[in-house]
């Protein structure tokens, strides 16, 4: 399993370097073909996103492979090696496997746990496959990498919490209402920010959008874009109780909602909860309203705090994810070692089978005429003799392939032939 990986990423290189070695989509196939034809790398794959450019290859000689891949990158992009040198990282064998797993599982991403990377890795794999540069080794590695990513996703909650303001708002809404289907959002103040937040909420399943604005025309305009309902400026408090979620971003210098308003709203709603998101600066909603039972008020700073907490949560989850990666690298290596030894076992058996046939043919003459039964007995006798003799060496080969530490050759031979130690 001789795998090498060379690349640059957001961890090692600034964007002006990353963009110089970026492989644009249309040029990928061409690049892969060059990699195979000119550099004699049996298998290869290129992952090129805005945060990382990595070339993965299978080669008989890893250190030489690394040199070749580096040469390939510089050559293809016409960048002198001296410029790139300090930004490039390279991994061989186990380290390369681990790196591939970590990247696919989004443990090396700029935003830990972000979900796009897995799709990008899959695309890179598919492109390489259609370019014909994926053989059995890389195929096995990448299939395992996708499996690792899936395991990390389902066994840890590394990617389950929101890391943007809009998604944090949606996530909080779900922690209150469980689902947004059938819920109504009221937008106070038809600004850009509130529009964006409303967009996220509607795409997360909210059923109805109400828009209120000081100028009614603007409210109508925005309401139309959400197939919602505009509310006349003087009728706000007639409709406000209909809203399960309130997004406020008016330009008002004073609070437009007081604690007393909040208490009245909850009374009218028969205690059904209200989630208020105040993204206006200066704020639109009196913070005291959060003390009203069943009202949950978040301003822009509160949302940022939630995001910070979510990021810390992802960090904690990353530890369990790293453990999964560790197990999978181990399993992959063991699998590879057993695979490496299989051809040797086959050759060994073929070799002795040939000797058996040869010896049998030579000795056969001396037996003279034999009945078919005796013929068969002779055949099975030699065969079982051979099997018994090969059993020791075969199982010893398998056993040795599973462990990496070297052992005393004498002990190995003794064990091979079943001698007492």
């Amino acid at each position: 399993m001789n795998i090498v990986l060379v690349g640059v990423s957001h961890r090692t290189a600034p964007v002006n370097i990353r963009e110089r070695v970026h492989f644009p989509e249309p040029k990928l196939v061409q690049a892969l073909e060059l990699l195979r034809s000119r550099y004699e790398l049996a298998e290869g794959m290129i992952l090129s996103t805005c945060n990382r450019v990595e070339v993965l290859a299978h080669t008989p000689d890893p250190p030489e492979g690394v040199r070749q891949v580096k040469d390939f990158i510089c050559n293809f992009h016409q960048v002198p090696y001296e410029t790139l040198q300090k930004f490039l990282y390279d991994f061989m064998q186990v380290d390369a496997v681990r790196h591939v797993f970590r990247v696919a599982a989004s443990l090396d991403s700029m935003v830990l746990g972000e979900p796009q990377i897995l799709g990008q890795v899959k695309n890179a794999f598919n492109t390489a496959q259609s370019a014909g540069t994926i053989g059995s080794d890389l195929s096995r590695l990448m299939t395992r990498a996708f499996f690792v990513a899936k395991r990390v996703r389902s066994e840890t909650s590394i990617a389950s919490s929101a890391v943007s303001i809009s998604y944090a708002a949606v996530e909080l809404a779900k922690k209150i209402f469980n689902e947004l289907k059938g819920k109504t959002v009221l937008i106070l103040g038809a600004g850009k920010m509130s529009e964006l937040a409303a967009k996220h909420l509607t795409s997360s399943g909210i059923s109805k959008v109400l828009v209120w604005n000081r100028t009614y025309e603007r409210a109508v305009e925005l309401a139309e874009s959400f197939k919602g309902e505009a509310i006349r400026p003087e009728e706000l408090f007639k409709h406000i109780e209909r809203a399960d979620i309130l997004i406020s971003s008016t330009g008002s210098p004073n609070f437009i909602l007081s604690r007393a308003d909040g208490e009245r709203i909850i009374h009218l709603r028969r205690n059904r909860p209200v989630f208020i998101i105040d993204i206006a600066v200066p704020r639109d909603v009196d913070p005291e309203i959060n003390r009203v039972s069943n009202i949950f008020l978040y301003d822009i700073d509160d949302l940022r705090n939630v995001i910070d907490a979510n990021l810390r949560q992802r960090q904690r989850e990353a530890q369990s994810a790293e453990e999964i990666v560790r197990q999978e690298v181990e399993a992959f290596l063991e699998d590879s070692r057993t695979r490496d030894v299989t051809p040797a076992i086959v050759t060994l058996r073929e070799h002795w089978e040939a000797i058996r046939k040869e010896e049998l043919a030579r000795g056969r003459k001396r037996f003279g005429e034999l009945t078919p039964d005796q013929e068969a007995a002779l055949e099975s006798l030699t065969q079982s003799l051979m099997n018994k003799m090969l059993h020791g060496p075969t199982s010893e080969l398998r056993r040795l392939s599973r462990q990496s530490a070297s052992e005393d050759p004498l002990r190995i031979i003794k064990r091979m032939f079943g001698l007492k130690e």
């Binding site: 909650s157 389950s160 919490s161 909080l172 779900k174 922690k175 209150i176 209402f177 469980n178 689902e179 028969r270 205690n271 059904r272 909860p273 959060n290 039972s293 069943n294 949950f296 978040y298 509160d302 705090n305 939630v306 907490a309 979510n310 949560q313 369990s320």
Partner: protein, 272 residues
């Protein structure tokens, strides 16, 4: 045989206990699948144990404290499995598993040789009274757990600094809904249980039974839940206050079940 099966049950339930323990300490879901399997297998063993006890004693095994505790644990697991099937709430396990373990362990420790049951227990009403009351209590326990989860999650949301609970606990809506559904199942069961108990006592005992402390406390329990359900339906009471009332209600249930056991009461036959 039923005792051996009950010990096997304990072993299975201990996996659940371990899960709750580790989950609380690490604040991460730990061993949940294993624990769920343990609780499921324990539930089967437990069911078998009750069936065997029934066959061995030739009457439903709910006539002494040992049997009552075991049966109570059994219906709580049943209530958990039903709500898990409906809501997939992992967090509920943290409340349920320890209680189930303790009840089963207690049942094991005070196990007494089967005795002939007292004459007064040979009534059909008695065998309606106990299971319905216990099932009602189990439902109230689920409502109690849902109430606690609601209060914790509400606290997290109001405080705006999400910590482990925020991520692990279900949404407020789910807690509230689970609490409400448990009440609407538990309340009719308790009502039926009390009614069956009264009918049975009327036949089996003299008039003095009505002033038994356990009966008085049962009526208080019934009143608390009646008020809660009334306000939920008529005034839309929900959220924090409803959660608090579910918790208070269950504390009174516990008091009724454990606190009012003393000699000379109509329920004293269950004591030894």
């Amino acid at each position: 045989m039923s005792l051996i099966l009950l010990r096997i049950t304990i072993a299975f339930y201990s996996v659940g206990l371990l899960h709750s323990f580790l989950t609380i300490i690490t604040r991460k879901k730990t061993l949940f699948r294993v624990a769920l399997f343990g609780i499921g297998s324990g539930f089967l063993a437990h069911g078998l144990s009750i069936v065997y006890a029934w066959i061995e004693g030739q009457h439903p095994p709910i006539t002494n404290l040992h049997e009552a505790l075991s049966f109570f644990a059994f219906v709580i697991v049943l209530a958990f499995l039903i709500s898990y099937a409906r809501y997939r709430l992992d967090s509920l396990s943290v409340f349920v598993f320890p209680l189930v373990f303790i009840l089963t362990l207690a049942a094991n420790l005070i196990s007494s040789p089967p005795r002939p049951r007292p004459e007064i227990l040979k009534s059909l009403w008695f065998y309606v009274h106990i299971p319905t009351t216990f099932l009602g209590y189990a439902a109230f326990f689920v409502a109690f757990s849902a109430g606690i989860m609601y209060l914790i999650q509400e606290h997290e949301l109001k405080r705006k600094r999400p910590q482990a609970f925020y991520y692990r606990l279900p949404s407020l809506e789910v807690c509230d809904d689970l609490g409400y559904r448990s009440l609407s199942i538990g309340f009719p069961l308790l009502t039926l249980g009390i009614a069956a108990g009264a009918l049975w006592a009327n036949k089996a005992l003299d008039q003095s039974w009505a002033w038994d402390p356990k009966i008085i406390w049962s009526l208080i329990t019934w009143l608390v839940y009646a008020v809660l359900i009334h306000y939920r339906l008529s005034a839309g009471l929900r959220g924090r206050r409803a959660a608090l009332m579910s918790i208070v209600g269950f504390v009174i249930v516990l008091f009724t079940f454990i606190g009012t056991r003393h000699q000379g009461s109509a329920h004293s036959f269950i004591q030894q």
